[in-house]
Amino acid sequence: MKRRDFLLGALAAPAVAMVGGGFATSRWDRAAYRKRSESRVVVSRVDSYESPLVERIVEGVKLCGLSVTGRSVLLKPNLVEFDPQGVINTNPAVVAAAIEAFRRLDAREITVAEGPGHRRDNEYLLRASGLQSVLEQHRTRYVDLNSDDVSPLSLPSRFTRFGRLYFPQTVLKADLVVSMPKLKTHHWAGVTLSMKNMFGVIPGSIYGWPKNVLHWEGIDESIVDINSALSMPRFAIVDGIVGMEGNGPIQGTSKRAGVLIFGEDPVAVDATAARLMRIDPAKVKHLRAAGEFLGNIEREKIVQVGEPIEALAKDFQVISPFQHLKGTG
């Protein structure tokens, strides 16, 4: 499929919003600027979900220099949909390990929260995905962000025309929000990682299932605006033990990458994750835009700890409209 086909065929205008290329500059307030002089990202080789995940996550958090003592931590996995044959969601073993890891690190409170993008049947999704048994086993609270109480936030960037969006209070009240995406390619945005995963905090009760209003405003644009609005301390743990390539985020095929990626700068984490998929982050529209003011995508500004990218990088297939993203960046 050629890029033109994609543009014409895209349901809902994400594609229309992308026609014409890059973002204009100065679309963010000075207060939204969060780039640091450098960002630390930890790449950890993890061969399987049977590996000692708790220890690896504790190690990853510590290597990032993050302190969680006494903080309320919100874990936001990717649970958009369930397919028994697929690898759509963050593996529940990783969520379970993160709960345990943050407990060991003396978090005051841990909540798992998600606003699934397609289905409203939470009981089904939680049980079928295996997350319910994790929640029960670890006695951890789950919040459906689609129906949580909400508060409006003015957006400090203006890539979309929203101006403001409603966010779940559970997210806004957390001391630390941990985005836990699956390492996946995406048929509208190129990749879906810790920044795109935050689509799940947008409440469906207001914006629908799917959260199509974000697509109309442009997926890349929405990703940037949502992430610029979430100014609380953030952390990311990317489940790349088994990822997804091709027609993601739902219908792609599994791809073993054997990696967990950690970091406090979601932009730097996603840039590193993209490189691990042999995708050039500077060619991913939302990463390029976020790299201007929300975080670092340049290699020289990312202090990488752990395994070198070259040792673990895998060639993730992308659908033809995104072939131009391929590269080492």
Binding site: L8, V16, N122, Y124, D149, I206, V213, I250
Partner: protein, 302 residues
């Protein structure tokens, strides 16, 4: 078949303002309150005082244009208008408010994909990533949004219930929305949120949206698409392990006069296992699914 614990839960979790939240201690919202009212009015054991307070919450929240926001603090009309309209339609004294809600629905349908997409679909349909009719309009989750299965199903039920009172363009819009549902049907029958395919690959249906669409299309039983989708739902039923999907399936089959006693027993067992995660709308739907009274979702005489 009664589920006393569910009835007790629903009554106990009514907020002080008279409405219900999505879960206990959450802010009252229109969907949960409307479904709770539909559920409580289907059981004679329910407290009349609680029903009255819930009704007052719903009446007070209705906008002057006939719509309902999803909750207090928001003002714009929402997709939940259809469910609130349906709930209000059950009270003879408040039918005028329901008709007002129905008329708002007729004025606020979803958007098309626009002329450019429409042209592209006509000229090069094989190159479109998602196969659908871009010109059909029904109902959306958001004002001026694209049309999706669930809000369309709710609006269809409400409008079909009130069609005689609403008049005007109701019939025409109902027919178009029905066409949209059939257009969005998954290959082999059934519905998901509203995308039956992407990049040439079929996307499977969900039981809850399949049941909902079939409820909205129950007066179109001659359509082969209904038969194949009903069969798909029955197939999916074997795997359903959740209160929401099973409740909608029971309502879907019971409005068609089918024996659902075994499914109702399963629903009771499921409630004992999970309490339906204390989600108000699911508990309310289960109570509706268990009631012997005529369902508010029944559109044709049995």
């Amino acid at each position: 078949m009664m589920l006393p614990a569910a009835l007790q839960f629903l009554q106990k979790t009514q907020n002080a303002d008279g409405g219900w939240g999505a879960a206990p201690s959450r802010q009252s919202n229109t969907e949960a309150t409307a479904l709770a009212l539909l559920a409580l009015t289907s059981w004679s054991e329910a407290s009349a005082a609680r029903i009255e307070r819930g009704l007052q919450w719903l009446i007070e929240l209705q906008n002057s244009d006939g719509s309902w926001p999803i909750h207090r603090g928001l003002t714009h009309g929402s997709w939940a208008t259809a469910i609130a309209t349906l709930a209000l339609a059950g009270f003879d004294d408040h039918r005028a408010g329901a008709v007002k809600g129905a008329r708002w629905l007729l004025r606020h349908r979803g958007r098309t994909l626009g002329w450019l997409a429409s042209l592209a679909y006509r000229l090069i349909p094989e190159k479109m990533a998602v196969q659908l009719d871009p010109d059909l309009r029904a109902w959306s989750w958001t004002p001026d949004g694209f049309s999706w299965v669930e809000p369309t199903a709710y609006a269809l039920v409400a409008l079909k219930r009130l069609n005689a009172d609403v008049g005007g363009s109701a019939g025409q819009h109902i027919r178009e929305a029905e066409r949209l549902l059939y257009d969005r049907m998954c290959s082999g029958g059934g519905w998901n949120h509203g995308n039956s395919n992407a990049y040439g690959v079929g996307i499977p249906p969900y039981p809850e949206t399949t049941a909902l669409a079939l409820i909205a299309l129950q007066d179109r039983e001659a359509e082969p698409a209904n038969r194949v989708s009903l069969q798909r739902l029955v197939t999916m039923l074997a795997e359903i392990e959740s209160g929401l999907s099973l409740s909608w399936a029971v309502v879907c089959l019971s409005v068609r006069g089918q024996d659902v006693a075994y499914l109702q027993r399963r629903l009771v067992r499921l409630y004992a296992r999970s309490g339906f995660l204390e989600e108000t709308r699911v508990v309310a739907l289960a109570l509706l699914a268990l009631s012997e009274q005529a369902s508010p979702f029944r559109l044709v005489a049995s």
